[in-house]
């Protein structure tokens, strides 16, 4: 405390010429320029919520169409996230280690589905796994058809949202100090032990946050789903599909589902931020 006092005493004698012109009220005015963008993002969300009082949610949430859409959405997003984690970790490990030419192309390919228009993703999936598709032709011979099934919904979500997990996990894995791996190996750990007892615990925060982002994106998937999986209530009609079609008939169904979807997405992102925050604090 005293030391600070002394510093202030000393500062008194130093002349800061520009300080005279600095009006604290005026210099903070720039903050107002942050408002238009903030307002633009928040206002539509507020407007949506203002049209859906909690009573309305309770009134509509029991409707068969909404319950079916919720069930299809939750089960498919859960399964596609699970698949993204199981199939994504090996790929993330590979991408986190290799950085040379060919792998850079693979690295870029992984990001492609996230930036493609979802309709393109849907058409691409149809061309690959449709009844007359590249792989689909062989599957059809075995008596397996994928379009218009629950499997198609999961595949559409996995294709569009899975890369988010691979990206998050590979960044997390790449951040691990290679010396820690070497230390574990020196202590006699085999490859599996090093992976499960050193690498995974260190990367778990990025794995969890990647999985949650994948889950949230999978819940919101629309374009690829309606093209590849079609729209059948109770089977392939997810929340976003019900919202889209509800908008053309019963606006209340669209509004209630929109509010539910926003709340879930909001909670998911909050969860991710919490995980990341803890992660930073521990370091």
């Amino acid at each position: 405390m005293t030391s600070i006092m002394i510093e202030k005493e000393q500062l008194k004698h130093i002349d800061f010429p520009e300080k005279k012109f600095r009006n604290p009220n005026f210099s903070n005015l720039w903050r107002l320029t942050a408002f238009p963008m903030l307002l633009f993002i928040v206002l539509p969300l507020i407007a949506l919520f203002s049209r859906v009082p909690p009573a309305k949610i309770l009134e509509y949430v029991n409707q068969a169409q909404i319950l079916q859409a919720l069930r299809v959405s939750f089960s498919s997003a859960f399964l596609s996230t699970l698949l993204a984690v199981l199939l994504g970790i090996p790929l993330a490990v590979l991408l986190s280690r290799k950085k040379d030419g060919l792998f850079r192309i693979v690295d870029t390919l992984i990001d492609l589905p996230t930036v493609l228009p979802p309709a393109v993703a849907g058409i691409a999936l149809l061309m690959a796994f449709g009844r007359n598709g590249l792989v689909g032709v062989w599957l059809a011979d075995l008596g397996i058809t994928i379009p218009f099934t629950g499997a198609a919904v999961i595949m559409a979500q996995l294709f569009v949202a899975g890369p988010l997990f691979v990206r998050a996990a590979s960044i997390g894995l790449a951040a691990i100090d290679p010396e820690l791996k070497q230390a574990a190996e020196l202590d006699g750990a085999n490859r599996w032990q090093t992976f499960s007892m050193v690498i995974l615990p260190l990367a778990w925060t990025s794995i969890v946050s990647g999985a949650v982002m994948t889950w949230a994106r999978a819940l919101g998937e629309f374009g690829a789903t309606i093209i590849f999986a079609g729209n059948l209530p109770g089977k392939t009609q997810t929340m976003p599909l019900a919202i889209y079609l509800g908008f053309e008939t019963d606006i209340n169904i669209a509004l209630v589902l929109s509010v539910i979807l926003i709340l879930i997405s909001f909670l998911s992102i909050i969860l991710v931020k919490g995980v990341l925050h803890n992660h930073v604090r521990h370091f």
Partner: protein, 270 residues
Amino acid sequence: MKKTFFSFVLLACFLSGCISGYGLNEQTVDTQKKTLTVLAAASLTESFTEIGKKFEEENPEIQVTFNFAGSQTLFQQLEQGIPADVFASANQKYMSDAIESEFVAAEEDKIFAKNALTVIYPKDNPGNINTLADLAKPGLKIVIAAAEVPVGKYTLEFLEKTSTGTSLPVNYKKDFLANVVSYENTVKSVVNKVLLGEADAGVVYFTDVTGDARAKVIMIEIPTDLNVIATYPIAALKSSQNAALAQAFVDYVLSEDGQGILQDYGFINP
């Protein structure tokens, strides 16, 4: 808070300015030529544009301007006094309304085209479908438009009609709907999923089977008593400044040339 409100008002003004800017329909009109304005249903866009071109070729002194919109919108425009010469509607209702409101002289309207529902299936016929009754076979993959889309609504009307005294089985509607694997959000995605061979069959309007689809799908006719047929009436408007020209255009649409073009675009000649 005041500032917030003000900036929102500004944004709203800006956006509405943009929208009205886009809505402006600026067209350069050759003053030497007589202009003929035709109000036509949106589904006539391609066919009438071609008819207009041919009509201009045959009558170099005339320039045809089209206003394509939903028939209901066109009727509202008539009510608001839009200057126009010809009205072509996608259903009888709005033509009758126009006659009732005295925009069109009674009994002046003529049916110039019809549109009907049709079943389509891919050329290699994965579902082994040959008749309308086959669509009730279990295990088929049928796609139709969602009830929210007009053609989806008409498809359900057609299925409703099958349940009352027809040659089709009593359970036809139930068995047909059990085969539906997707209610598509647009009629074009029904066409495309049949075209790609992903669906065994679909129900669409004749005019939706265009271009590439013609060569790749086969149609099954739905009998007239079960079908939901749309009729397209046309008439010269009473308010036309050029009654003779307006009638000439109507006559051209009804002529062999006009009917040929409409047929090319999938319409049924009356």
